[in-house]
Symmetry: none
Subunit: 255 residues, 2 copies
């Protein structure tokens, strides 16, 4: 029943490595991508001491992917044009309690990747992704693993995710036309408006603000956010900001 | 469906490496096994020049598996006590035309591994398994991969197979929402607050209100809403209502 995977869809998948430590891992990631027709590699804040010879050696026949990598200063820049942004995490905890397995995530990824760039984000070998980086993600992926030892090699984690996407791409039936999905850049502008609203309406204090923002992010990004969705949410926040500004102006002007 | 860890089944799975070339790959294989609760490693005809330091380094927390490996002169000896013996192969051809994908193979493996030792056999990095070796296998596994580049890294191949077995063994407990899910009644109270907020902040007119509410409902209910989620959302709406009320009171009171 396996169909040929839709390579055009897989070409819309970007693998993003955040500050990887070992050149060998970067090379192995390229090989894993190549085995699964995934070609778009981005590296956030590459380390000056990276052993690129090792990377080249372990990439085997995937040197083209390695050479074509894009480099960015921040994760926000690396995923700015992406709709779905999935961060991988081994740990559980706050904001990580709604994680998808790679298999659950694959059809979600395939649907968006029909028409849009999507990103899978992998953290540092030793420390994974920071909370601010996970905040940029629409989905959290947790790879099933032994309770006794959850820490996967970076290229193994990429391999499992790419393998699931590759497999899903072979079964994928394109869905009907829907409203255009929002990009990460547009989503972040919306969250900026909500942050401002929380402050201006005095809903929360500085100390609790980021905690509240994380909660809101998880609620809003459980499903796909379309451009009309974002416009409603952004409009609501801006209206509340406007009302709050009026209120404060009057407070100041009142005798 | 039994989701309790069934480590006993996975302990019956043996990973057999035939004449592996690179010590680093052997170590990475141990780590991949460890991540998936597979512990039984056998090496057929180990090469005298094997770099065991490299193996040790890349095995990370799986040095116990590495040290506990069994060594055999021939594949026949390494799988003598096994019922199911599955050989992995990237190529198609003689003996290879009835291959299973790792996903198709996993339930077959699990059924036998309940009461018997089973083996997954991986060939040399450069030449794979010889036909005589494949002849010893009861099943051929072919890992789905790009037509353009089918050659997987040895530890990546082991990772994908172990991941499928681990998943099939019912180990993975998808992270569930820890917080209690909100009842319909609580959700509706929240939506009432948002409706009032939309009016009070003058975000929308009566005619467009229900249309906007439907948009908001779709956004908020794409995922499961927990009680803490609802409390944040309700709090936000109420705060905006309060600010709007203050604003209007001042408007009325101002001279």
């Amino acid at each position: 029943m396996d169909k040929e995977p839709n390579i055009a869809i897989l070409e819309n998948v970007r693998i993003v490595l955040v500050e990887p430590i070992f050149g060998g891992n970067i090379g192995s990631v390229c090989r894993a991508m190549n085995n699964n027709d995934v070609t778009d590699l981005a590296i956030v804040n590459p380390r000056p001491e990276t052993d690129w010879d090792d990377a080249r050696k372990l990439s085997c026949n995937a040197q083209a992917q390695l050479d074509a990598r894009k480099e960015f200063h921040t994760l926000a820049e690396a995923v700015a044009d992406c709709t779905v942004v999935a961060g991988t995490s081994a740990r559980t905890g706050f904001y990580r309690d709604t994680a998808y397995s790679p298999r659950e995530f694959a059809p979600i990824a395939m649907e968006s990747a029909q028409d849009h760039k999507i990103a899978l984000v992998f953290g540092r070998e030793d420390k994974g992704l920071a909370n601010e980086e996970l905040a940029l993600c629409t989905h959290i992926i947790q790879i099933p693993s032994s309770k006794r030892y959850t820490s996967l090699n970076l290229s193994h984690a990429v391999m499992v995710c790419c393998y699931e996407l590759f497999t899903a791409a072979g079964h994928f039936q394109p869905a009907e036309e829907k409203a255009e999905e929002a990009s990460s850049e547009l989503r972040e502008r919306m969250f900026d408006a909500w942050r401002e609203m929380m402050i201006k309406t005095e809903f929360t204090h500085d100390q609790k603000l980021e905690h509240m923002m994380m909660g809101l992010r998880r609620i809003f990004t459980r499903g796909k956010l379309t451009i009309p969705d974002v416009k409603i949410l952004m409009g609501l926040a801006r209206q509340s900001i406007w009302v709050s500004n009026q209120w404060k102006k009057q407070l100041k002007d009142s005798p």
